[in-house]
């Protein structure tokens, strides 16, 4: 799916760990290439640009320190993600950030990410909704420009929506992890996730409609 880099087959964790313990530099580089991006993306979503760099640096340092005693019960990714989450959480608690946690709750004017103008008075769609063609996800992911617009739209989301969306749908964490780090209730987390998803859906909808229009 990645455009730029032809994805080399991933070395299994157990092998990578063994090579890392044997001080193999190529193994370390592989790990950095594989995880630095996701770790940074995760840290940024919680702590912003400024905080992320420090958190990720600390995480790599902790990884090296802990490598010889890492039991390998979780994947390397899960392990390093947990370190990022820990640090991001303490940092968040220390700074209280510019965004007070109370404002993490849902409080938009929109009702649950739903645009009231879509529906008739009795709650039915007032316009037809059509399935996207099955190749839509692949098409979006393989289109560099479109991906760029998607990422730009992601940046435009209100902080709390973006944080939850990145953690959940982009990095694949579960809701308990999100609630723990952000200190929000499970329900709030879900409302934020829903809003963020519906906004991204709307963007893709626009893009796919443009695409259809361009097609003969």
């Amino acid at each position: 799916m990645r455009q730029s880099d032809p994805v080399p087959a991933e070395t299994p964790d157990a092998e990578l760990i063994a090579r890392l313990r044997a001080r193999d530099e190529t193994a370390f580089l592989e790990l950095v290439n594989r995880l630095h991006g996701p770790l940074t993306r995760l840290a940024r979503s919680i702590a912003g640009d400024a905080g992320a760099e420090e958190i990720v640096q600390d995480t790599w340092a902790a990884a090296l320190t802990g490598l010889d005693t890492f039991e390998g019960k979780s994947s390397l990714k899960t392990w390093l993600f947990a370190i990022v989450l820990n640090r991001a959480k303490s940092r968040r608690e220390r700074d209280q950030r510019q965004v007070p946690l109370s404002s993490l709750g849902p409080q938009d004017d929109e009702e649950g990410g739903v645009d009231p103008s879509w529906f008739t008075e009795n709650g039915h769609w007032n316009h037809p909704v059509e399935r996207w063609s099955d190749d839509t996800p692949d098409r979006v992911l393989n289109d560099k420009e479109l991906r760029k617009r998607l990422l730009a739209a992601l940046e435009q989301l209100p902080d709390r929506l973006r944080t939850v969306l990145v953690m959940r749908d982009i990095e694949g964490l579960d809701s308990a992890e999100v609630c723990n780090v952000l200190g929000v209730s499970e329900t709030n987390q879900r409302v934020l996730l829903h809003r963020a998803r519906t906004r991204m859906r709307a963007l893709l909808e626009e893009e796919t409609q443009d695409e259809t229009r361009r097609r003969p």
């Binding site: 090296l64 996730l193 859906r201």
Partner: protein, 77 residues
């Protein structure tokens, strides 16, 4: 019977398995009869699929070098 508006509102609750049994049944009954809401659900799933596959940025060369330096220092320690 739930409405299309309600289906749209609780889509994530549905996908997260957070609806009660009765709500879930009503949701699915609605889907069974409403092609618009089926399309909506498939769009939401496609959106989630795209998000889950967005590639992260590659580490910049200077970061890679710096981390490698760190690794070498660790190796010696």
């Amino acid at each position: 019977m739930i409405t299309c508006r309600e289906v749209v509102t609780i889509t994530t609750d549905y996908l997260e398995g957070k609806l009660s049994f009765a709500e879930r049944v009503r949701f699915q009954l609605h889907l069974g009869m409403c092609s618009h809401c089926r399309a909506w659900l498939s769009q939401m799933k496609a959106t989630i699929q795209v998000l889950g596959k967005l590639p992260a940025e590659e580490p910049p060369p200077e970061v890679r070098d710096e981390l490698l330096e760190r690794f070498r220092a660790w190796k010696k320690s």
